[in-house]
């Protein structure tokens, strides 16, 4: 895989912002103006001088106002029906996280961009930004403020033996289709610690090595649904809700998911999709 601008952006962002985001609870809560300035910096780091338009009603972020568990915050990006077919990229930015670019999704032509959802770690009260990118390069941004803190350094691994045993295993559930021409919607669960590297082993005083999913490729009958480039902001045991349109809903097909993690492990799994019932 080649080095993409987004990867450069991510590496630079981690390097530049780690210090400030980890400085503990004593610091003052940022003002609204400071939050706006931070987004301006991040926007520039990720998109350079490209124009980023306010999405208005075209893009929305769905997330709880206050998260019960900052290490597992569900976030959905919704794109309006009229814009969805044009969308080829989605970015999820968690402004105040140590690594703000939480996810970059590259969507194939068959993807159903109306809704993509995952669960993320949130380190501090922050704005979330979702940016949708059209095939011809327009960018639409939506924002949402969320109250959650401590998600990146919070310990995971409730049952460490199980986590090891299940590493890399995946589970896919398909939603029922009421009509054969509807997009196929699916929920993919991946057993992976996706650890942030921000937890310290008390005995050795070393940080526990970060071990996270770098890319996830999902295809349907060999056609790209999406590629995800991500890092430590995705929660332990990552979960993704996505959809796609089958060009031939009357016949059965195969969904395949492939993962490459930061330890260079590869995992893949496939699932059959039955033919849609005829009308």
């Amino acid at each position: 895989m080649g080095v993409t601008p987004s990867m450069l952006g991510r590496a630079a962002l981690v390097f530049l912002l780690l210090g400030s985001a980890l400085s503990g609870p004593a610091r003052a809560e940022p003002t609204e103006a400071e939050r706006m300035a931070r987004w301006a910096d991040l926007r520039h780091a990720i998109f350079g001088n490209r124009v980023v338009e306010d999405a208005g009603d075209l893009v929305a972020i769905d997330a709880p106002v206050r998260a019960e568990d900052a290490a597992i915050v569900p976030v959905a990006i919704r794109v309006a029906e009229m814009l969805a077919p044009e969308i080829r990229g989605l970015y999820l930015v968690i402004d105040n996280n140590p690594s703000p670019l939480a996810a970059h999704l590259i969507l194939g032509p068959i993807a159903d961009a109306r809704e993509m959802a995952t669960r993320v770690r949130i380190d501090d009260y922050t704005y979330l930004h979702a940016v949708a990118e059209t095939a011809d390069g327009r960018l639409y941004a939506a924002a949402r403020f969320i109250k959650a803190a401590g998600g990146c350094s919070a310990p995971a691994g409730k049952d460490q033996a199980l986590a090891l045993e299940r590493l890399g295993k995946m589970k896919l559930s398909l939603a029922d289709r009421s009509r054969p021409d509807e997009p196929i919607r699916a929920k993919l669960l991946i057993s992976h610690p996706n650890s942030s590297g921000l937890q310290m082993d008390q005995a050795t005083r070393n940080y526990i090595r970060a071990d996270f999913m770098q890319t996830l490729d999902v295809t349907y009958n060999g056609q790209q649904v999406f590629r995800l480039e991500s890092d430590i902001a995705i929660s332990e045991d990552p979960s993704f809700n996505f959809g796609f349109r089958s060009s031939n809903p009357g016949t059965a097909g195969v969904i395949k998911a492939e993962i490459l993690d930061s330890s260079q492990r590869r995992f893949s799994q496939s699932w059959p999709v039955p033919a849609a019932a005829q009308m």
Binding site: E68, I72, P74, Q160, D201
Partner: protein, 299 residues
Amino acid sequence: MAAVVLGTPASHAETAALPVTEIASGIFVHNGVHEEASAANDDAIANIGFIIGDKAAAVIDPGGSFAEGSALRAAVRARTDRPIRYVILTHVHPDHIFGAAAFRDDHPDFVGHAKLPGALAQRGDYYVRRLHETLGAEATGTEIVPPTVLVSDRLDLDLGGRLLTLRAHGPAHTDNDLTVFDQNTRTFWLADLLFVDRIPVIDGSLVGWLKQLDELTTISADRAVPGHGPVSVPWPAAAEPERRYLEAVAHDTRAAIKSGIGIANAYRQVANSERGNWLLFDEYHPRNVTASYKELEWE
């Protein structure tokens, strides 16, 4: 309770003794308050205590901070001059084991579950930082003491004319729960495998905990010591409310997953009938449901 620690952490002499109740001959328990950890309570929120034999004493959970551990040590010293040979760490949670450093000068064996070191590696640093943030100066001296003796199945500790049987359990409250059975008085110290009055915290495995309860409740004992709740309760009757809550969470969470309710909203429809039965319900129930959802969605 605000235990006052005078002088350096190494000096124990002036520390006020933690109030304890003798629930059976030679078994002393301090009753933790039903609060979240704070500077006002020194994180003394769990039931902790000690057992005295003819030759030695064993501490079961040294408490939630260096301050509480020091006060517990003073309580031991007020009742016996026999050596403190064992400090048993029932599981990784701070309110139970963060007082361990107060017993270092006694050079005891620090006894824990075989999975405790792994859990401390994952979580210890985070817990220490959080405790210092929450308690401020009251957290002074508090640090992680790793176990020196590990239990992977069973271990008997001889206090002189008194045998304690320790058992290491599968994932339940955490993945590193230990229980202690005192053979002389048939007292079953369950620590946080048993919550009474205060809402159980699911931090290991919901399904595993229900499985452990099935097994634990077949063991006959004259009394049990819960990790939170009264210092002494009838066994196995005292486990029933906990079992009922855990079963309700399992049943309703499975139903939420099946009907496609998302992880963030599931708690609103799970085990609501239990709200009036538990202290700190709103503080812990949503997180319990999130944890259970994550566990059960793999079924």
